[in-house]
């Protein structure tokens, strides 16, 4: 029943056609980003560039001023990596204790994290902005790292706790019997074992932080530490219809995440499928 037949081959061809049609936006993206200015005005929107150039990329990368793309790229990397580190460190410690503890308070705390995942961010963002402004954290990378770590902590704890609950206790007990204290048990035994969960947490939360626009626009808009999405938004607003330059910025914003995706595609897809279950 599940053999490869002519009907299966036909289905495969149809899916490929659908997939390639679905991927056409990427064709337009690449073709247009490589067009020199004069070709942009004289050729049709879907035509390939006859004299492709990378000038659009060098132009946008060397633009100085408020929406410096290179600086924004650095900001995005710094904030994303900082948020991931905070989430992995505090999330794993919390999830480990909650998953292993038999106390009633750990169940209550775990439900606290669960409900927080569903709670929408829009309502809380207003008081958070006021609080951050009062503390002088608006427009700073550290403020963003704390904010993103706090926002995504429920997701990180949820993912880690699921992993720890499935992890046998034998290794930890053996190490403890040999005299290792709780801290050493965690660092030497649990930390290496939880690498798969850390990968999932890093991918999911890193993706959310890297691509975030709403929160970054509110907290970093107009500041010196704008992330790539915010600078892209302002820059594109000033370019109007210079599509070759707009698409150069779009590609620059996509390359890090797309490269990482293609490098770890199975982990990405498993992370999404497993993370939402």
């Amino acid at each position: 029943m599940f053999r490869y037949t002519k009907a299966t081959f036909l289905r495969e061809v149809l899916v490929w056609i659908a997939a390639l049609i679905g991927l056409m936006p990427f064709y337009f993206l690449l073709a247009t980003a490589l067009k020199p200015d004069e070709e942009l005005l004289t050729t049709t929107s879907s035509a390939l560039p006859s004299r492709p150039t990378v000038a659009n990329f060098t132009d946008v990368l060397t633009t100085s001023g408020d929406n410096n793309i290179l600086f924004s790229l650095v900001n995005s990397v710094m904030i994303t990596v900082g948020s991931i580190l905070g989430l992995v460190a505090f999330g794993s410690l919390a999830a480990y204790v909650l998953a292993r503890s038999t106390r009633r308070w750990s169940s209550i705390a775990f439900y606290l994290f669960l409900i927080a995942i569903i709670l929408p961010a829009q309502l809380g963002i207003i008081p958070l902005y006021i609080g951050a402004r009062t503390m002088g954290l608006v427009g700073t990378p550290w403020g963003m790292i704390v904010l993103y770590a706090g926002t995504l902590m429920p997701l990180a704890v949820f993912l880690y706790a699921g992993f720890f609950r499935a992890l046998p206790r034998d290794y930890e007990e053996a190490a403890a019997i040999d005299g290792a204290g709780p801290g050493r048990v965690f660092l030497r035994i649990v930390l290496p074992l939880m690498a798969p969960a850390t990968g999932t947490v890093a991918i999911l939360t890193g993706l959310i932080v890297w691509n975030d626009f709403f929160t970054a626009l509110i907290f970093l808009g107009g500041s010196d530490y704008q992330t790539l999405t915010v600078s892209m938004y302002y820059y594109v607003g000033s370019l109007v219809s210079a599509w070759n330059k707009i698409f150069a910025i779009v590609i620059i914003s996509m390359i890090p995440i797309l490269g990482f995706y293609l490098f770890a595609q199975k982990k990405f897809i498993q992370g999404f499928a497993g993370g939402v279950k």
Binding site: M1, R3, F28, A109, L119, G150, A176, N211, M232, W243
Partner: protein
């Protein structure tokens, strides 16, 4: 051996049976403290604060007055704001239906037998990992009056069908929906693929031997088996659709003439562009209530079927 927690043993008055204490200590209770504090502050205290401001006329600086339900009355009376509520619901349900239909179709097509299913899965999933803002700029080009869609229609000889897609009130909202669906269908496909992987082939084979056709096998065997995936995909898409922001900002900015404003874009504009913090909080509270209500309904609807 150090104590697991600072709690002291209960006195003689405690007649409840005590839980079995683990033989060794698995970390200290205070390891969870930083995460708990962050979540309480960033999620619970902040949300409560937002709900508080929703009943004030605060402008973000200085003093404010309590004005009861005045902000909410204003929302209902304003045609643009009521329109943003309708747009939010339209996008959310359109998004929910279309991503699940296309995602399930793709998952069924890719499940088993296809030789290149792994490569196809990687390609179809690719848009999911990209920035919604960046994706929207590609589509803004596609929808442009001199863009590929109108060019294609011209090539077909249908110049009369050419439109400024993002500048027509009736069409712009559909354009936003198309972009959302295009980017997220791969995620729904992956969720359904995970669900379909748990369906034993033997059940389908037994159904086929009993004479069940393709549609009958799908309806009676496959669909009930992936109910959990439907619940997950449904809730995720509904919530994501209700708070659409990036795509609207990039594609239309809420235009033309407010035709594509959503509650999320209005929250941003009223609060941070116009400094109507109290009013923005009321909009955010309305959006939050809608999200929580629909999430609960979605869970109840998919759970009751047993």
């Amino acid at each position: 051996m150090r104590e697991v927690s600072p709690e002291q043993g209960a006195g003689g008055g405690d007649i409840r049976p005590r839980r079995v204490r683990p033989l060794i200590s698995y970390g200290h209770w205070w390891w969870a403290l930083p995460a708990v504090l962050m979540v309480v502050l960033v999620h619970y205290v902040a949300t409560a604060g937002g709900a508080f401001y929703a009943f004030t006329n605060w402008t973000g600086v200085g003093a404010f007055d309590f004005i009861g339900l005045e902000n909410f009355r204003k929302i209902i009376d304003d045609p643009t704001l009521l329109g943003s509520l309708k747009n939010t619901l339209f996008l959310a349900f359109g998004f929910l239906v279309l991503t699940n239909v296309f995602g399930l179709m793709l998952a069924l097509a890719l499940n088993r037998t296809l030789k290149s299913r792994y490569l196809l899965r990687v390609l179809i999933f690719m848009p999911v990992v990209l920035s919604p803002l960046a994706v929207s700029y590609i589509w803004k080009f596609i929808f442009d009056f001199n863009g590929p869609i109108n060019q294609f229609l011209g090539w077909l000889g249908r110049e009369d069908w050419q439109r400024p897609w993002l500048a027509e009130p009736g069409l712009a909202l559909w354009a936003v929906l198309i972009v959302m669906v295009w980017q997220t269908t791969g995620l729904v496909m992956v969720i359904y693929l995970a669900g379909l992987a748990t369906v034993p082939p033997e059940i389908e084979e037994a159904g086929a031997l009993d004479g069940a056709g393709t549609w009958g096998r799908f309806w009676h065997i496959t669909l009930p088996s992936i109910r959990a995936s439907t619940a997950i995909a449904g809730t995720l898409m509904l919530v994501q659709g209700l708070r659409v922001f990036d795509q609207v900002m990039a594609l239309t900015g809420g235009g033309p003439g407010g035709a594509t404003e959503t509650l999320a874009t209005q929250v941003y504009k009223e609060t941070f562009a116009l400094s109507n913090f109290g009013f923005g909080a009321a909009l955010a509270l309305m959006l939050t209530a809608i999200i929580l209500v629909f999430s609960a309904l979605q869970q109840a609807a998919t759970r009751d079927r047993t």
